[in-house]
């Protein structure tokens, strides 16, 4: 094994050598330093290799041949090898990224950097407490030196603040180290740790040591100096501070914590407070680097608390800590390096990355990794963390961690939204040099690879779920191809995949078969509509497939982990789909926030489940006994964010309405079903538990009110897609209501509605989307009379609205019929009445939709508009055939459904008798009604036709108009605010109280954040006061 003293030797030797050499030799010094850094990497990798492959044992190297306490010991173990590898890789890439800064007379930077990383290595390796002090100071001085040569405007004042703060902190460390020595006569860490009972002096000493290390890790609120460095210094230096120094200090803390078990609680508290507070304060941050600083502090705080949780986590500790650390390390360094490419510090300036899509993708990867999305390591870290915390009943910690993560998600996704959507013309173009690109690319690739590798390693995630992700990667690489080729590939892939997966489920599990069918067939159909788009449609296919991959994983999930994995993947994909719309920035954000909030609720629920069952099988939900109510509620809330139940619905209208024409049906007709599927799974597993009945009752009311509010709100919309979006909310409200009934008929209703909603909402959204593509506006009052120009679209919408409204003979009536029977059987009369009332309110918006768009007066500028694209018409008419089939032969679908549901609800009053469906209450023959109505309609049509054959077809202004003639179609088409009277009577129900509530909450949080960050006055002395106050407060805490 290579001796670590070589690191010391190379570092110091080369630095001194370069100092001694003349001015000329310095020109070529860069090469020497590069070689040195490479040798660092080589040494640490060789250790890593030896530990991983050759199972080497931990070795200590002693200086000058003495044994401690008379010498300094350096220890090389697996942990040290990993950490030094990370640090040295970081050092190498930092050097690369600072390459250009080191030209033009600033060659001094090179040796300083070398010393810095040498110091960091030593900090990791050393086992001597005083030696730590020395290298702490060396790194501090080296970092100060780096900042000193930084040309950024405020770098030096930030550096000065950093220096005074670190001087104070290291002095505290020094005091601690000396006290340690006096209490037990040794500075050798292993000796100190070997002590069984410490003297009070030793306790104070250890307290001071840990305290100063914690202070080095920038705990809230004693961290203003660090924030200023992040903001003021070159982002490449920020990367070093955040990733390399942060990791080193964390490891140091971990190392020293071996002697300070009594401080674990302190670490947990400080870490979590930092995590939550810095994420909260970051909400109002507009400077990218400072934001990254806040985020770094937050992440490091989380890891501090994980170090504190060491005993609680037990053997999972290292896994959790390393997963989160590595994610933080790679992502934060990458983000800082990305920031280094930009001239402006503004968050919105990151939109220039749109010109270089690779960088945007990297940005997205880093953000998603930080939040803890799969397949990145932090996902597994967070999952394991939550699961284990739940197992040990640390529920408040779970809540705190999830709240902090949620706050972090808010600003990170807002930032990502800026990058994706904000107009970038006013910002300087990004200039990309190879030396800036290489580190970012490498780290991004490492992050992705580590994630996939981890997914491969994790128990509970099947490898098959990873193939789609790889395929998506491939599709991304093919992004330069025209859209139709990618479309074909995507359809083929989806078809192939569903062809493999789908059929076995028919026998095995009909429920999954149906939902998988909805996802797969719906996916294929909506993708067909994509042929209508010209050009390349960059970025569309990877994210669309990502969503479908997530959905499919969700269905296939056998374990709660892979269920959650699929859920998150689907969320990520759909987020990108939604944010592709023209004005979707804030809608994408609110979708993401609700989704993440929901996902965390699910995570917490699954964690609580695991705590009891110690089993990640998804069916283990059924065996929950304790906290069943809470678990049920958490999971239900999680799923309800996706189905947009009342109160959690405010993201949906904007997100669906502003999405692209073929995305709207994807996210409405298909994606929402994921929430429904989740609810199904939940209710199947836990529905039998008597404790959840009361919650189901509440869910029933929520569903009913959702239906009412959704439908009423839809009636007052002027935007066609927004109208349909509200309609979706209401339809999902029906489904929720029906599911909550927890009876055979109720679930029949839910299944029928799910199927129907998939078909007719896809038809409507596709058609309206296609119409919008043609006419170029969402506003219904700007359309009108399009039946003349778009008969295909009209027929589709007609079928869609008849089916949606539940008018016989089309399939929607099946849902209504089951509904009545289910409600009567269950006895939820008032909720039922609300739902029925809202079902009738649906007529208002359906009429408005078809009338305002297709009937009435054709406008001037739409006189030559063409019918909808054939690529939209194909899926639409396929779905219409589906509806027709379902309407004509409902029992063919309903009977298997009913049989399927009897496995959970064996007692059913439903019986099938030929063409008749009977329940306790009523009977209905879908086929018979269809035939009767068809015959009657045809006879009556003939009757009219015989009597009136000489009909003159007139044009649109040939109407009686009080003896005048209409003047313009715009003034003749009655559409805007058509239900004004109704609004006067019932509009109060849909007053946007819920949006106001959410706005107030978010305003409150923002104002807290704004108020809170005032403590960072920018004055170095204030920061000193913070540090001193922190010390005093913690000391007082410990005195108690």
């Amino acid at each position: 094994m290579v001796s670590p003293y070589f690191l010391l030797g190379i570092g110091l030797g080369l630095a001194f050598l370069l100092g001694l050499l003349g001015q000329k030799a310095r020109k070529s010094s860069s090469i020497l330093i590069l070689v040195a850094l490479f040798s660092f990497v080589g040494i640490s990798f060789s250790w890593l290799w030896q530990f991983l492959q050759e199972n080497a044992s931990v070795t200590q190297f002693f200086s000058a041949g003495f044994k401690p306490p008379f010498s300094i010991a350096l220890q090389v173990g697996l942990h040290e090898a990993v950490l030094t590898s990370m640090i040295n890789v970081m050092g190498l890439f930092s050097f690369v990224s600072l390459w250009r800064n080191m030209k033009d007379g600033n060659e001094k930077l090179g040796p300083i950097l070398l010393i810095l990383f040498m110091g960091l290595n030593m900090l990791v390796l050393t086992r001597d407490i005083f030696n730590v002090f020395v290298f702490l100071e060396i790194t501090a001085i080296a970092l100060g030196g780096l900042i000193l040569f930084d040309e950024k405007k405020h770098a030096r004042s930030a550096g000065f603040k950093y220096l005074i703060a670190s001087a104070l902190i290291s002095t505290i460390y020094l005091l601690g180290a000396v006290l340690i020595y006096f209490s037990n006569g040794s500075l050798y860490l292993d000796d100190v740790m070997a002590l069984n009972n410490m003297s009070p002096m030793a306790i104070v000493a250890v307290f001071l040591l840990i305290l100063s290390l914690v202070l080095e890790l920038k705990p809230f609120p004693a961290n203003g100096w660090a924030l200023d460095v992040y903001q003021g210094a070159n982002p490449a230096i920020g990367a070093i501070v955040s990733a390399a120094i942060g990791s080193t200090m964390l490891f140091l803390l971990y190392k020293l914590m071996g002697m300070a078990a009594f401080m674990q609680e302190f670490l947990i508290a400080v870490g979590l407070i930092s995590f939550i507070a810095s994420n909260l304060l970051a909400l109002v941050q507009k400077n990218a680097n400072r934001l990254l600083g806040y985020s770094s502090i937050g992440q490091i705080g989380l890891i501090i608390s994980i170090i504190g949780l060491k005993d609680i986590l037990g053997d999972q500790f290292l896994f959790v800590a390393f997963m989160i650390l590595i994610t933080h390390f790679l992502a934060k360094a990458g983000l800082f390096w990305l920031s280094a490419m930009l001239k402006s510090d503004e968050l919105k300036a990151w939109s220039v990355f749109r010109k270089k899509s690779v960088l945007l993708v990297l940005f997205g990867i880093f953000i998603f990794a930080l939040i803890g999305f799969p397949p990145f390591p932090s996902f597994y870290g967070k999952w394991t963390l939550i699961i284990n915390l739940a197992e040990t009943h640390n529920y408040y910690l779970i809540a705190a961690i999830l709240i902090g993560s949620f706050l972090e998600a808010i600003y990170l996704f807002r930032w990502l939204g800026y990058a994706i959507k904000v107009d970038f013309t006013e910002y300087d173009e990004v200039k990309i040099n190879w030396e800036k690109l290489i580190p970012v690319l490498t780290f991004g690739a490492l992050l992705l690879a580590s994630g996939l590798y981890m997914a491969h390693l994790m128990p509970g995630i099947e490898d098959i779920t990873l193939w789609p992700l790889l395929f998506i990667l491939a599709i991304y690489l093919l992004d330069f191809l025209p859209a139709y080729i990618k479309n074909t590939i995507s359809i083929a892939a989806l078809a192939y995949f569903s062809f493999i997966i789908l059929p076995p489920y028919y026998e095995k599990d009909l429920l999954r078969f149906i939902f998988l069918g909805i996802f797969a067939i719906g996916g294929i159909l909506t993708l067909i509509a994509g042929y209508a788009y010209k050009g390349k449609r960059r970025g569309f296919y990877p994210v669309a497939l990502l969503m479908y991959a997530g959905l499919i994983v969700l269905i296939q999930a056998e374990t709660t982990l892979s269920f959650f994995f699929g859920w998150e993947i689907m969320t990520a994909g759909s987020y990108f789909l939604i944010i592709r719309g023209k004005r979707s920035m804030e809608h994408g954000l609110s979708y993401m926030l609700f989704s993440i909030g929901g996902a965390y609720a699910i995570l917490a629920g699954l964690g609580l489940t695991f705590a009891q069952t110690h089993n990640i099988d998804i069916l283990s939900l059924a065996s929950v006994t304790v906290h069943a109510k809470l678990i049920f509620l958490l999971l239900a809330v999680g799923f309800l964010t996706k189905t947009a139940a009342l109160g959690l619905h405010i993201w949906l209208p904007g997100a669906h309405a502003e999405a692209e024409s073929d995305v709207s049906p994807m996210v409405s007709a298909i994606l929402l079903k994921a929430g429904v599927f989740g609810l199904f799974i939940l209710m199947i597993a836990m529905g039998k538990n008597p404790e959840v009945a009361s919650i189901a009752y509440i869910l029933g009311w929520v569903g009913a009110l959702t239906a009412l509010v959704g439908n009423l709100a839809a009636a007052f919309q002027e935007d066609a897609k927004r109208l349909l979006a509200y309609s979706s909310i209401a339809q999902l409200g029906y489904i929720l209501f029906a599911l909550a009934m927890m009876s055979h008929l109720g679930w029949m209703t839910a299944m029928v509605y799910s199927l129907n909603h998939f078909m007719y909402k896809a038809i409507l959204f596709l058609t309206i989307g296609a119409v919008v593509l043609r006419v170029g506006t969402h506003s219904m009052y700007k359309m009108g009379g399009l039946i003349q120009r778009m008969p295909l679209a009209f027929i589709a919408v007609l079928v869609g609205i008849i089916a949606l409204s539940g008018v016989p003979p089309l399939s929607g009536f099946a849902g209504k019929w089951f509904f009545y029977n289910a409600v009567l059987e269950k006895g939820w009369y008032f909720q039922g009445a609300i739902v029925f009332f809202s079902g009738i309110v649906a007529f208002l918006y359906l009429f408005k939709l078809i009338y305002s768009v297709f009937l009435g007066q054709l406008k001037d500028n739409l006189r030559q508009v063409k019918d909808i694209s054939i690529w939209f018409a194909i899926p639409i008419y396929v779905l219409i055939l589906g509806i027709m089939f379902f309407s004509a032969k409902p029992e063919w679908v309903l009977q298997p459904l009913s049989d399927m549901l009897t496995q959970w609800y064996p007692n059913t009053s439903l019986s099938f008798d030929g063409l008749y469906i009977n329940s306790n209450f009523g009977y209905w023959s879908g086929t018979g009604v269809m035939i009767t109505i068809m015959i009657m309609f045809i006879v009556l049509l003939l009757w009219l036709w015989i009597l009136s054959r000489k009909v003159v077809k007139v044009k649109q202004f040939n109407i009686v108009y009080s003896a005048e003639a209409p003047q313009r179609p715009e003034t003749t088409h009655v559409s805007y605010n058509i239900f004004a009277g109704y609004y006067k009577a019932l509009g109060w129900i849909v007053a946007p109280k819920i949006s106001e509530l959410w706005n107030k909450i978010s305003d409150f949080v923002v104002s807290v954040a704004h108020f809170g960050r005032m403590i960072y006055t920018g004055n170095g002395q204030t920061y000193l006061v913070h540090i001193l106050a922190f010390i005093v407060v913690t000391f007082l805490w410990f005195l108690n």
């Binding site: 043609r774 170029g776 006189r863 202004f957 009686v960 003896a963 005048e964 003639a965």
Partner: protein
């Protein structure tokens, strides 16, 4: 007034160029595009006399009057329909839309401006249709015989089935007029809807002679 507002408040039916949503511009000619520009047709009675007689009887017993008061005579309509005279007894009803009406009561003088509306409403009524003209004004101009904007003879502009003389005729006279109209219909003599079509050009020439701003198609379907 802004141009945009003016476009809606004072429109004309001149051709205009508009830009479609796909960016292509094209010309809209309201007269062609928004109005059916076809000549009216003659609708012959049913060729079987018995059937036609029966239908004429039904028509005569179901007279639906267009609620359009053109002049001072419209004040005579309310007493006609209310308890004092109760024209409902004779199958007379009032309808609000020319599409569903058969009888057009021209109740008094017609200014040129009103005539234009009368012609439009008359043409929007469906065949068979009848005109009942009240008062001297519709016969020879009455007291407005020398007015610069009141017509003198209605039958030069639309065909009249029955004139009811007087200034104004009382409801009794109107009832008598209805009875006359009924007998005309039953006899099959009330085919003025077709007469209007047959003499279409003559009527149009007369109308256009006095209606100077002719901004409608020749026949208002």
């Amino acid at each position: 007034m802004s141009d945009e507002k003016n476009k809606f408040e004072n429109p004309d039916y001149a051709k205009r160029t508009v830009i479609g949503p796909d960016g292509k511009s094209f010309v809209v000619d309201p007269m062609q595009d928004y109005f059916l520009d076809a000549r009216p047709k003659v609708y012959e009675p049913v060729s079987i006399p018995v059937v036609e007689k029966f239908l004429n009887w039904a028509r005569s017993e179901s007279l639906w009057v267009l609620g359009f008061g053109t002049g001072c005579g419209s004040i005579e309509i309310p007493p006609l329909m209310t308890p004092r005279f109760d024209a409902f007894r004779f199958g007379v009803q009032s309808r609000a839309t020319p599409r569903q009406s058969n009888v057009f009561i021209i109740s008094g003088y017609l200014s040129i401006k009103t005539l234009k509306r009368v012609v439009r409403s008359y043409e929007q009524m469906q065949n068979p249709k009848y005109v009942l003209a009240l008062g001297s004004c519709t016969i020879n101009g009455g007291m407005y015989f020398d007015s610069y904007n009141t017509i003198n003879r209605l039958d030069h502009y639309i065909p009249v089935d029955v004139y009811v003389a007087g200034c104004m005729p009382r409801p009794e006279a109107l009832l008598a007029g209805f009875n006359k109209l009924k007998s005309l219909i039953r006899e099959g003599k009330a085919e003025n809807g077709n007469k209007y079509v047959k003499d279409f050009d003559w009527y149009k020439a007369n109308q256009k002679k006095i209606i100077k701003d002719w901004n409608m198609p020749d026949y208002n379907w």
